[in-house]
Symmetry: none
Subunit: 197 residues, 4 copies
């Protein structure tokens, strides 16, 4: 393995560990020494990979947004109806919330609420464009195929992002009476009803 490959691997392991810690403990409650200790590396060396805590946070949101976007892209490329796509998107989102909650928690608990961190370098949601782009493709395809009513994209995007994020938040607060995957049916139906032509 080449040195640059080793470095890339380590870089990714830092991203994942930091993602984990930021999601569970919050951005400000997670210290750089915390992350270094979890990785069994030194703080000094961690700074060889990311030049500051803020930079690390921004790289994580890009990484996470790409990963989520990739999941939606797979669905967009399927040869199924728009209604089925809605179902699949909700399904993939809630499955992820269940099995790898750190990504979605990062959106909710880190990205959403530390504007001062992401302001410089992530203006206009550029750091989450990986995710937005795929929702946009889904929506445009749906409109073009006649399945979805044409409306301002952000009306639709806010519905997806807000509704799904909200449900994951409620899950995190442990107020949902049922496991989150039991809501897939209801919620994809609600979303489709809201958007259909």
């Amino acid at each position: 393995m080449k040195i640059s490959e080793k470095k890339a691997l380590k870089r990714e392991s830092i991203l994942q560990t930091a993602l984990q810690l930021f999601s569970t403990q919050g951005f400000h409650k997670t210290t750089i020494p915390d992350i270094a200790k979890a990785l069994k590396m030194s703080v000094g060396n961690l700074y060889n990979y990311f030049s500051s805590k803020d930079v690390l946070a921004k790289e994580i949101i890009k990484y996470t947004s790409e990963a989520l976007g990739a999941e939606i892209r797979t669905i967009n490329n399927m040869n199924i109806s728009t209604e089925e796509k809605v179902f699949k998107i909700v399904e993939v989102y809630f499955t992820m919330a269940k099995e790898k909650p750190e990504m979605i928690e990062y959106f909710l608990r880190v990205y959403l609420s530390n504007r001062e961190v992401f302001n410089d370098g992530c203006e206009g949601m550029i750091c989450v464009s990986g995710f937005i782009t795929e929702i946009m493709i889904f929506f445009d395809d749906g409109v073009e195929s006649g399945a979805l009513r044409n409306q301002d994209f952000f009306s639709a995007f806010g519905l997806f992002m807000g509704y799904l994020g909200g449900m994951v938040f409620l899950q995190g607060e442990e107020v949902l009476p049922k496991p989150i995957e039991d809501y897939i049916e209801d919620i994809s139906r609600n979303i489709y009803s809201a958007l259909k032509a």
Copy 2:
């Protein structure tokens, strides 16, 4: 004016100033000296009113939840159709987001994402029950009247809270192409379509 009244007034002015600062700068970036300075009072005296920064944050969420709940309550008591109520709720929410954005921003940027602060004392969303209760009443009334489809309450609540919150977030990120009040029509329609029987 009695002393206890003056104290109550001062207490409320602290709540409002802290709400303002927490919303705009974030909870961790706002310091107690910041709040004291904005109020032109001493740090020590602030602690005569709220025994810790965390306690202050919890009192603010209760205060805010009550205020939002009161707005919805007014709508719930109106003699109008469920569809009109949805419209009014969205309208009141977005109007507030425009004119007093700090309350809704507080939900998004402080309450949503500092679980470690609200965990102790606000378990199970008890501190926002003022708001939840009214949404619950709206939903139950709608179902009873036959206008809304009966489903798990949290499927409906997540839609309201997430969708509206999400839109306010997008507004805060300055990505919305139109002023937020121009979305009232679309979004209330989407919500009603999602929930109607």
Copy 3:
């Protein structure tokens, strides 16, 4: 009752309450508001009686020293042997340690260890002269009667003060296997053996 009498009574109640609190919680851990609250009076008014926390601490040590001295004086005036006097002094000391521990604890936990507080105004143990004087009388009488060996007074005083104080400290640490009053016999015997001619 005259006003000045009422003031004197209140003054004494402050002394006693502060003595209690300083003894149990320590000087620095006891705040002026703590004392005021225990007395159900205002902090401002407390300052009408004692001009500072340090002054209060010094008045307490004088008060306590007088009270302890008075107990020894009674014994000094008894028509009994020096050996019996030793026994009675130990007895009175340990009884007090059991029933009103705050006075002796004050010596140990406040006076002994806050030199910076007592330095100014209590130099040369002047604030505990009420107690020292009586021990000195006991010792001089004992020497004069031929019962005690003549030696430097402080060799004898250190024995009384240190030994008895040490035992009360051990009681406070809960390391004594027996109740403190069960040590009266042994310890008065030890002291008398040490001092007798």
Copy 4:
């Protein structure tokens, strides 16, 4: 020199400097910045060695107790009479009080009177067991050899600890008419008289 050795040395220099300052100024009047400044190190770095001011205080009492215990141990191991051992213990104690007064002052002014600090982690005098153990060995040996009267150990321990501590306190108050070492003869005689069979 290895890094771990350097760290151990620095750790010890912190212990000694803090011991010095706590003894002379008192625990509560000595601040962490005071200690750091005396050591010409930063406050933050001090916390790399001791996790809190209280922990530091507890480590000092253990350290001091070991040092004092070691002195007594040497005497216990000597092939001399019990009476001579008493003399030597008093001598060593007063010499230390003269030349390194901070250790004994720490017992008197810090350990004795800040129960709230030592309560958690030093229960039952466990942090001073280094010293107590040696006094216990001295006493048991003395009883076994027939030189000392058998009595409750704490009656004897209180005599040593209280009497010697008391004399050092009087020295600190500058009330002793003679230098403390001039009391060695008298006081060792008093102690031996008190304890002998």
